[in-house]
């Protein structure tokens, strides 16, 4: 997010889901789309069947590879080298879009070109393990396409150099003019129903709703006027910063709404220690999660089926959520809980209906000002920016320019991930989701049929590695990292390459985040490096 915002001036999918089927080249990197965004994958398959070329770059043979023309199996954490190698080919072959570069970008200078010039496909092959012929072919397919789309997820961002990865992707799209057009763009696929919305709504320590900086006095004045109260002038702490501050004794109270960081954050023992050192922890959730178990107060909230409101999906589409059933017992709507607490803290939030909150959002952020519940009911969803009541919404971004004026190229060099395998920890662990389960599992693990087919944690091990370890399907192994260890059954699978293993992070009984590290955060957006952890595997 920070990466795209730096380059373009806003961070979101540039195109719509429906545009995918009209791509003539798709470059999917660090996204197991068929399992994690199954419906997006259907559009991609449709595109392929209409004649598009699909390139996938992933350390694992993800299910979508079956439909790909080209699969690049890069070593985890080497994406920048791969992307720079591709850009080298594009530059050498003269496949850049010079008109686009001249009119709409800045920073495509001597230094940038020199940096790319040094990243030959040969050197990229050495770092990534991808044969140089494949790098050349991928570059040519992507650059020669009329309408090329890039799709990525956490395989790109959850790295100690996640922002660099995103900047590289942006460079690739800018260089070839694949932006600001239908079916051409840079598309981060959002992993949760309302990640886009939570970000848009300013649940960020540096930004008010609508990506407006808290440190800009004029912006602050606007919100002070809207909310009728004096607001803090300095940026707050990011999530992992809050945990560190708790450990240092600087943060005393934490209010967590609908999150389970104990299971979803890296280095579980660190997270637990931090939360336990707080004077006061309030958790608001629909289930007794691992995090709620540590709380001083647990507030029973409502699920999506018990309230009204809106979610914003991965393509910036705001859609209505409607109440279907009554909440169980005394469970209360999250908005009511917040309003009640706020009143008791001395700041009254007198809203009579959820739509009044929505209307206030439109006042705070012009990009949503044209959206109303009645329009959503009638039109079935609108994509921001939608500034006025007669605006049709915006299927793809940057048609008439970038919010920051000219989009900026960034000079990016490959830096190895912080966690490197060594003699003691020879394997590279990567984590992620599987089709059937979701996140920390507090929802899916309570669904009996899902548990029946996918209720057990596992570690994917390449057949050759399994042979060396004398491990077969179902063998229980101990997996240890510099942070912790767990035991889990082996699943011998040709999905990961040699030296790479995979554990889904849904299972508390073998929680992958016992192993991952909370150190080695990306220097800019502070994302943890969940995709690369050095581990050792032993038969138990």
């Amino acid at each position: 997010m920070a990466g795209l915002a730096t380059v373009f001036g806003s961070g979101a999918m540039t195109n719509s889901l429906a545009e995918i089927e009209n791509n003539d080249a798709l470059f999917v990197i660090g996204s197991n789309t068929k399992e994690n965004h199954p419906i997006v994958a259907l559009r991609m398959i449709k595109a392929v069947r209409k004649g598009a070329k699909l390139i996938i770059a992933d350390p694992r043979r993800v299910p979508l590879v079956r439909f790909a023309h080209l699969w690049l199996q890069q070593r985890p954490g080497t994406d920048v080298a791969l992307l720079n190698g591709m850009m080298h080919v594009i530059l050498n072959d003269g496949l850049t879009d010079s008109a686009f570069i001249a009119e709409r970008t800045e920073g495509f200078d001597e230094n940038f070109r020199k940096n790319i010039g040094e990243c030959t496909p040969e050197s990229a092959e050495k770092i990534t393990g991808v044969p140089k012929e494949k790098i050349v072919e991928a570059a040519r397919i992507y650059a020669r396409a009329e309408r090329a789309g890039i799709y990525y997820t956490m395989g790109i961002t959850q790295h100690s150099h996640g922002t660099d990865n995103v900047l590289s992707i942006a460079n690739l799209a800018l260089m070839t003019g694949n932006l600001g057009k239908e079916s051409s763009g840079v598309n981060p696929l959002r992993g949760q129903n309302n990640v886009q919305g939570a970000t848009d709504m300013g649940c960020l320590p540096n930004l008010f709703p609508g990506y407006q900086r808290v440190t800009v006095p004029a912006v602050r004045r606007k919100f002070e006027e809207l909310w009728g109260v004096k607001l803090p002038e300095h940026e707050g702490l990011m999530a992992n910063g809050m945990l560190d501050a708790a450990l240092e004794g600087k943060l005393k109270a934490l209010y967590i709404m609908g999150e389970n960081p104990v299971l979803s954050d890296p280095d579980m023992s660190h997270t637990k220690k931090a939360l336990s050192s707080l004077d006061f922890l309030v958790v608001q959730d629909i289930f007794m999660t691992e995090t709620a178990a540590l709380a001083h107060v647990v507030l029973p909230a409502t699920s999506f089926a018990e309230k009204v409101g809106t979610f914003t999906n991965t393509e910036r589409r705001v859609q209505r959520v409607r109440r279907v059933v009554d909440a169980p017992g005394l469970a209360m709507k999250d908005s009511h809980i917040i309003m009640e607490l706020s009143g008791r803290m001395g700041y009254s939030m007198p809203y009579h209906h959820t739509e009044e909150v929505f209307q206030e959002i439109g006042k705070a952020w012009p990009a949503m000002a044209g959206i109303s519940y009645s329009r959503l009911d009638e039109e079935g969803g609108l994509q921001w920016p939608c500034p006025t009541a007669d605006h049709p919404g915006t299927p793809f971004l940057f048609k008439n320019g970038f919010p920051r004026g000219k989009a900026a190229f960034s000079m990016v060099q490959y830096t190895p991930s912080i966690e490197q395998p060594d003699a003691e920890y020879p394997f590279t662990l990567t984590t992620g989701r599987m089709l059937f389960q979701y996140h920390g599992g507090s929802m899916t693990r309570r669904v009996a049929p899902i548990e029946q087919v996918a209720g057990e944690p596992y570690i994917e091990i390449n057949p050759e590695d399994a042979r060396d370890l004398a491990v077969t399907n179902g063998t229980v192994v101990t997996v240890a990292s510099r942070q912790g260890s767990l035991t889990v059954k082996a699943q011998v699978s040709a999905r990961p390459g040699r030296g790479v293993v995979f554990i889904p992070f849904h299972f508390r009984e073998a929680a992958a985040n016992v192993l991952t590290s909370s150190k080695g955060l990306d220097p800019i957006c502070r994302i943890p490096s969940l995709k690369v952890t050095a581990v050792r595997i032993e038969k138990t």
Binding site: I45, R66, Q192, N193, N194, V195, G197, A198, T199, G202, C203, L204, L231, P232, G236, A239, M242, L251, A253, M257, P261, S264, F280, F287, H296, V297, V298, A301, A305, N313, E315, R317, Q319, R322, V325, P328, L330, D334, S335, L341, S342, M345, G346, Y347, M349, T354, F358, G380, G381, L435, F436, Y438, M443, T444, R446, V447, A448, P449, I450, V453
Partner: protein, 350 residues
Amino acid sequence: MEKLKNIISLTIDGQRITVQSGTTILAAARKLDISIPVLCHHPKLTATGACRVCIVEVNGIPVTSCTTAAEEGMEVITASPYIENLRRDIIDLILSDHPYDCMVCERAGSCELQELAYKYQIRTPVFRGERRIYPKRDGNPFIERDMEKCILCGRCVKVCDEVQGVGAIDYAYKGFQTKICPPFERDLSCEFCGQCITVCPTGALVSKPSLGKGRQQDIRKVATICPYCGCGCNLTLHAHKNEVIRTSSPKDSINEGWLCVKGKFGLSFINSPDRLKTPLVRKNGVLVEASWEEAFTYTADRLKQIRDTRGPDAIGGLSSARCTNEENYLFQKFLRAAVGTNNVDHCARY
């Protein structure tokens, strides 16, 4: 001029229409709002021509309108007595090998075959013959397959291949024994997306977790959005009393009516007995049930105390990518305006 070459005109039930060459008679008729019954045809799948219900008369000859391309000067009659009789016999033949258990069938009230039997008033089939009897196989917890109700239309086979890209099922065995099933009758590659259930015209494929949970007419349907990944698939939740028993999705939605295993089958957590039902407050190290008044007073007092003694930046909040926009907006407003800190973040901001 080039374009004009591809335009043809024909008459359907006396009405003239011009269409692109390659358009089927069925598609042309639908443009004129003339309804032709179908069973195997599905607008999002390639044509099969298996069920023959869509026959129409062209120059006195019955042809399947879903697979026959319109031709210049064609004169089509969609519902002559001759065609209607044939159509009635075809439906009758299908029903002759179909169990008569509409009274307990999950699809009663939303079954396309039942609708046609009603339209053509077929009570007892004229044709009597052998019936296919299949042993029940209970291989998976998601899809209930009652192959005696299958009319072999092939929609499920096509959706699995053409839309889902999996090909988990196909026609197997031969002749009268023909049956649609996964290889070796075991679900080897099935992703349990339930797309096959969505397109099945009869009760052959239904959602197993919904079995026996409510009749069609007792169900309330509410349009909402899936709570799982960021695709934002449009869901129609089917609720019986206070329980969500089934999910479907509108065909014209951004997800084109398709769902994945989580959206289709993964929502019973809503009614899980594990749901938190009362506030809990920690006393002597243990979380015990409390009233809202107690929980609110305690929480607000502790937060005020910490704010007043340690300053507002000693408090932080983590919001949720699962909650609504409105809730997230209120949450950050609470931290900023009521507490007085910018310590607010959420786990998926990257």
